[in-house]
C-alpha cells in the first residue's frame, strides 16, 4: 500500500518537482550571470573555497556526533549544538588566564593542548550526563518524547551557561603563531584556516579509525545495526550508547575550539545555528553514516561559502551574504524532500515511524 503510494505520481509530487526545478533553474541562472559579470576574480573564489573547507570541516566534526547518536538511538540529539558550545566556552576562561600570564605566547602549543583538553573534557562530560539523565530513561518511549526532551535540554543548557558565564560575547585570545598567512603553490592561505582544516582532518581520521578498527567501535556499529541482537551477542548496549555520546562529545568539543579559533569569540548561543547546520550535513551525507556526515559537512561548508556569491549575486540580490543561512536551510529542506537517504545514504526518512 505504502509502496504504491510512493511509486505513483501524485499532484503533490508534481508541485515538489516544480519547486525543485525552479530552484535549480534559479541556481544555474544565477551562477551563469555571476560568472558572466566577472565581479569576482579567481583569488576571491579560492578564498571562498578555503573558508568553506575550514568551516565545513568544523561542521563535519559536529555532524559525526549527530550521525553516531542517530545510529545507536535513532533520535536527533537536538542538544548536540550545546555540547559543542559548552567546551570552548569553558575553555575560554583557561585560555584567557593563560593569555594574561603570557603563557599562551611563550608556549603556544602546550597552551593549545590545554585548551583542547579542557574543552573536550567539558563537552564529553555534558554529553555523557545528558544521555544518562535525560535520554536513558526514555529509551523505549514514543519517538516524539525523546526529541522534545532533547529540545528542552538544548535550551536548558544554553541558558544554564548564560547564567553561569554571563550573556556577553567573549573574545577568544588570539594565538600569535597562527596569525598571518602562508603561501602555498602561489596561493595565499590564512594560517588559522590551515590549522583548522588539518586539525579537523586529523580528528576525523582518528574518529573513523576508532569506529572501524577498535573493538568498541565494532560494538557501536553492531548496536546501530540491531540493538537487541547485539545485546544477545554480549554487547553492553547501555555502555556503547554512553561511549557513542562520549566520542560525539569529544568531537564536538574539539570542533568548538576550532570554531572559536576561527571566529575568535564565544557566546552561549553559538551552538544553535552550527548545530542545525551540522544536522543538515549529517542528513546530506545520509544520517547514520559517518563518512557521509564528514563529506556532507565539507560540502555544506563549501556551498555556504561559495553559494551566496555564486548563485545569488548574479540574480541581482543585494547583500547576498545575509542569505547564507537561508541557503543552508534550503539545502536541508531540498535534501529531505528529494533525497532523504542523503548523498551516501543508508536509511529512508519516511521508512522509520
Amino acid at each position: 500500500m505504502f509502496q504504491r503510494w510512493k511509486e505513483s505520481i501524485t499532484p503533490t509530487d508534481i508541485v515538489m518537482w516544480l519547486i525543485g526545478g525552479s530552484l535549480l533553474l534559479m541556481i544555474l541562472w544565477g551562477s551563469a550571470a555571476t560568472i558572466a559579470a566577472g565581479k569576482y576574480t579567481g583569488r576571491h573564489w579560492i578564498d571562498f573555497v578555503i573558508f568553506g573547507l575550514a568551516q565545513g570541516s568544523i561542521y563535519a566534526l559536529i555532524a559525526t556526533g549527530y550521525t553516531m547518536v542517530y545510529g545507536v538511538l535513532k533520535m536527533i540529539n537536538f542538544a548536540h549544538g550545546e555540547i559543542f558550545m559548552s567546551g570552548p566556552y569553558t575553555a575560554y576562561f583557561v585560555a584567557a588566564a593563560m593569555y594574561r600570564s603570557d603563557f599562551l605566547d611563550h608556549h603556544p602549543y602546550t597552551a593549545l593542548l590545554v585548551i583542547f583538553v579542557v574543552a573536550m573534557t567539558v563537552s564529553t562530560l555534558i554529553a555523557y550526563f545528558l544521555e544518562k539523565i535525560a535520554y536513558r530513561p526514555l529509551r523505549d518511549a514514543p519517538r516524539l518524547i525523546p526529541l522534545i526532551t532533547a529540545i528542552g535540554a538544548s535550551f536548558f543548557l544554553q541558558y544554564t551557561f548564560r547564567g553561569l558565564y554571563g550573556s556577553g560575547f567573549q573574545a577568544y585570545p588570539v594565538i600569535k603563531i597562527f596569525e598571518g598567512h602562508w603561501t602555498l603553490l602561489g596561493i595565499r592561505i590564512l594560517k588559522f584556516q590551515v590549522v583548522v582544516i588539518v586539525a579537523a582532518i586529523l580528528l576525523m581520521v582518528a574518529l573513523y579509525s576508532f569506529i572501524m578498527l577498535t573493538r568498541a567501535g565494532k560494538a557501536i556499529r553492531a548496536v546501530s545495526e540491531d540493538k537487541e541482537a547485539s545485546s544477545l551477542m554480549g554487547i553492553n548496549v547501555d555502555g556503547m550508547v554512553s561511549t557513542t555520546f562520549v566520542i560525539g562529545g569529544m568531537a564536538a568539543g574539539a570542533a568548538g575550539v576550532l570554531y572559536a579559533l576561527m571566529f575568535k569569540q564565544v557566546h552561549f548561543f553559538m551552538g544553535f545555528i552550527p548545530g542545525i547546520k551540522a544536522f543538515t550535513a549529517a542528513v546530506l551525507g545520509g544520517i547514520g553514516n559517518i563518512p557521509g556526515a564528514m563529506l556532507g559537512g565539507i560540502f555544506l561548508g563549501l556551498i555556504e561559502s561559495v553559494g551566496p556569491s555564486l548563485f545569488l549575486d548574479g540574480l541581482g540580490i543585494p547583500a547576498p551574504y545575509q542569505l547564507k543561512d537561508a541557503i543552508a536551510f534550503t539545502m536541508l529542506v531540498l535534501v529531505l524532500i528529494f533525497r532523504p537517504t542523503g548523498i551516501m545514504g543508508e536509511r529512508l526518512a519516511a521508512k522509520k515511524a
Binding site: A141, T330, L336
Partner: protein, 561 residues
C-alpha cells in the same frame, strides 16, 4: 560492611543531586535575583524559599527512596539528603571566599555568599548553612512520618501561602480595585511581601479548607453526581455564565498592566491552539510554526501600513487576507514535508521558519517588508467607532479570537477530520489502510494551524502597531511548543493553563523573566521524564501514557516500595 553502605547510600545520592541542583540554582543567579522578592515581608524571601524547598524535597525523596522500611533508616536518610544538599552550598561559600570565582562564574558574588550565610561571616556562616540543611532534614523526616491527611493539608497550606506571596503583584491590584476588599489587601500585603499575620491567616484558612475538603469532599462529589441531569446542567450553565462574566469584566478588575499581560497570554493561547492542532491532534512536530505568525503579521502590515505604502486597508479588511494567505502558505509549506515523519519533520520545519525570518530580515526584501527596521503605523482595529487601542480594549479582540478558535478546536476534535488526525497521529500506515487520505488530512492540519497562527499574527501586528523581524525568531516556536506540552498535548484547557503558567507568570515575575528559557528547558525535560501527559491532559493521552507505563513495567518484577 555492605549493609552499612546501603544504609545511607540513598541519602548521599539524593543529597548529591540536590546539592548540584542547589549550586546550579545559586550560580545561575536565580537565588540572588529571587532574593529581592519577599514572600513574608522582612522575613522570608523567594530565594530562601527556593533553597529551603529544595533541601526539604531532597530529604523527603531520600526518605521515600530508601528501600529499608525501618523508620530510623528513613529518618537518617532524610537528614543526610538535606545535609548533603546544604553541604554543597557550604562548600561553595567556603571555596568562594578563598578563591575569587567571579572571573568565571559571574553570579558567584559576595552578595550571594552573604545571602546564603544570612550575613554571618567566617566559620559561623558555613556552620549555619549546615544547620539549616539539617533543619530541612528534620522537617522532611517529620513530614514523611505525618499521617497522609495531615501531610496533605500541611503541604497545601504552606504552598498556597507561598503562591499568594509570589503572585502578590497579581492579587494586590485586584483586591485594591474594589473598596470593601481593599482593606483585606492592605492587611495581607505590605509594599513587598505578605505581612506575618496575613501569611499565618492564609495558612490557617487553606488548612481548614483542605481538611474540610479531604474529609467531606467525597460526599460533596457524590452529591453532585446524584443530582438529576437537569440540575447538574443548571449548575454547569451557571458556572459557564459566571466564567463569561468574569472573562468580560477581567480587564476592568485587573487594571492596565495586568490587562497587557492578559493580552499577551491570550495571543499565546491563540498560537498554542493552532500548534495544538498540528502537534497535538495530528502528531506532527512543527518547529517552524512562528513562520505563519510572521506571515500573518506581515500581510497585515503590507496591507495596512502607510509606512510601506502599498495599500491602506483597515484592520478588518486586511484580516481575511492575512488568514487566507496564512492558510495558503501552510499548505504550500506542508506539501514538501508530507512524506517526513517525526524528527525529520521537526528539523525541516525549523529550517522553514528560519528561512522566512532570514528573508524578512534581509536587504533583498527590504523594499517590500522594511528589513530590520520593520514596518510601523499599522492601524488599530475598530468596530462601530469602538477603537481597540489600549490593552484593555484589545483584550476583547483577543478574547473573541480565542473563543472562536476554542470553539473551532472543540468542534474539530470530535469531527471526522479530528478523528482522522488522531488516527494518523497514532499510526500513519494503519490510518491510511483505514481509508484516510493522508495527503489531504496532513495538509488540512497544517492549513488550520497556520490559519490560527496567521490570525494571531494579524492581531499582534495591530496590537503592537508595528512589526519587526526580531519578533519572529525560533524562540517563539519553542515557547509555544513548551506551553502546549506543559499544559498537555492535545488538550484545549491544557493550552490555556500552559499559556497562563509559562507566559503569564514570567510577565508577572520580572525576576523570573530572565530565567524563562532555562526554566522552560528544565520543564520540558522534567515533563517528559515524569509526566509526559502534561498538567491538564487530554483524556485519550492520559490513558495511553499510563498504558505504556504499565506495559513497560510489567516484565520487571515490581520493586518493593
Amino acid at each position: 560492611m555492605i549493609r552499612t553502605r546501603a544504609l545511607w547510600e540513598h541519602g548521599v545520592k539524593t543529597g548529591m543531586i540536590g546539592g548540584i541542583s542547589a549550586l546550579l540554582v545559586a550560580l545561575v543567579g536565580m537565588v540572588e535575583s529571587f532574593h529581592r522578592r519577599d514572600i513574608i515581608a522582612e522575613m522570608v524571601t523567594m530565594g530562601q524559599i527556593l533553597l529551603l524547598a529544595l533541601g526539604i524535597m531532597m530529604g523527603y525523596i531520600a526518605a521515600r527512596r530508601t528501600p529499608d522500611r525501618e523508620p530510623a533508616t528513613r529518618c537518617l536518610n532524610a537528614m543526610i539528603g538535606s545535609l548533603v544538599t546544604g553541604g554543597f552550598l557550604a562548600l561553595l561559600v567556603a571555596f568562594g571566599r578563598l578563591v575569587n570565582l567571579r572571573d568565571v562564574l559571574v553570579n558567584a558574588s559576595p552578595m550571594l555568599y552573604k545571602l546564603l550565610t544570612l550575613g554571618h561571616s567566617g566559620i559561623a556562616g558555613i556552620l549555619l548553612i549546615l544547620l539549616i540543611g539539617s533543619g530541612c532534614g528534620v522537617f522532611s523526616a517529620v513530614l514523611y512520618f505525618l499521617p497522609h491527611l495531615v501531610r496533605r493539608v500541611a503541604i497545601a497550606s504552606l504552598s498556597s501561602m507561598i503562591v499568594v506571596g509570589v503572585l502578590q503583584d497579581l492579587i494586590r491590584p485586584v483586591l485594591s480595585a474594589w473598596g470593601p476588599v481593599a482593606v483585606i489587601g492592605d492587611w495581607l500585603f505590605t509594599g513587598n511581601g505578605l505581612t506575618l499575620s496575613g501569611a499565618i491567616s492564609i495558612v490557617v484558612l487553606i488548612a481548614i479548607i483542605t481538611s474540610v475538603w479531604a474529609l467531606k469532599g467525597e460526599t460533596i462529589r457524590t452529591g453532585y453526581t446524584r443530582l438529576s441531569g437537569g440540575s447538574r446542567r443548571g449548575i454547569r450553565a451557571g458556572g459557564l455564565l459566571i466564567l463569561a462574566l468574569v472573562l468580560f469584566a477581567l480587564p476592568h478588575i485587573l487594571g492596565l498592566f495586568l490587562s497587557e499581560v492578559l493580552t499577551i497570554v491570550g495571543l499565546y493561547v491563540l498560537l498554542g491552539l493552532g500548534l495544538n492542532i498540528v502537534v497535538g491532534y495530528a502528531g506532527m512536530l512543527d518547529l517552524g510554526y512562528v513562520a505563519f505568525f510572521a506571515i500573518g503579521s506581515y500581510v497585515t502590515a503590507i496591507l495596512t501600513s502607510p509606512e510601506l505604502g502599498f495599500f491602506s486597508f483597515t484592520f478588518w479588511q486586511a484580516l481575511p487576507f492575512a488568514v487566507i494567505i496564512g492558510v495558503f502558505s501552510g499548505v504550500l509549506l506542508g506539501i514538501p514535508v508530507l512524506k517526513m515523519r517525526g524528527d525529520y519533520l521537526a528539523i525541516a520545519t525549523l529550517g522553514f521558519g528560519e528561512i522566512i525570518r532570514i528573508l524578512v530580515l534581509s536587504d533583498f526584501l527590504r523594499p517590500w517588508l522594511g528589513g530590520a527596521q520593520g514596518a510601523g503605523k499599522i492601524p488599530k482595529a475598530s468596530i462601530f467607532g469602538y477603537l481597540f487601542v489600549g490593552p484593555q480594549q484589545i483584550y476583547y479582540l483577543i478574547l473573541a479570537g480565542c473563543l472562536l478558535v476554542v470553539f473551532i478546536s472543540l468542534r474539530l476534535k470530535g469531527s471526522r477530520l479530528g478523528r482522522a488526525w488522531m488516527a494518523m497521529r497514532e499510526d500513519e500506515d494503519v490510518a491510511q489502510a483505514m481509508g484516510i487520505n493522508l495527503v489531504a488530512t496532513k495538509l488540512l492540519a497544517f492549513a488550520t494551524g497556520a490559519g490560527f497562527s496567521a490570525l494571531s499574527g494579524a492581531v499582534f501586528a495591530s496590537k503592537l502597531g508595528s512589526v519587526y523581524p526580531h519578533s519572529f525568531n525560533v524562540m517563539i516556536s519553542i515557547n509555544i511548543l513548551c506551553l502546549i506540552i506543559v499544559g498537555g498535548i492535545g488538550s484545549i484547557p491544557g493550552v490555556i493553563v500552559g499559556a497562563a503558567a509559562l507566559v503569564g507568570l514570567p510577565e508577572l515575575l520580572r525576576e523570573f523573566a530572565e530565567y524563562r528559557m532555562l526554566v522552560y528547558g528544565a520543564a520540558l525535560v522534567a515533563m517528559m521524564l515524569l509526566r509526559p501527559e502534561g498538567l491538564w491532559p487530554e483524556a485519550r493521552h492520559r490513558i495511553e501514557f499510563h498504558e505504556a507505563q504499565t506495559e513497560s513495567r510489567k516484565p520487571e518484577p515490581s520493586p518493593a516500595t
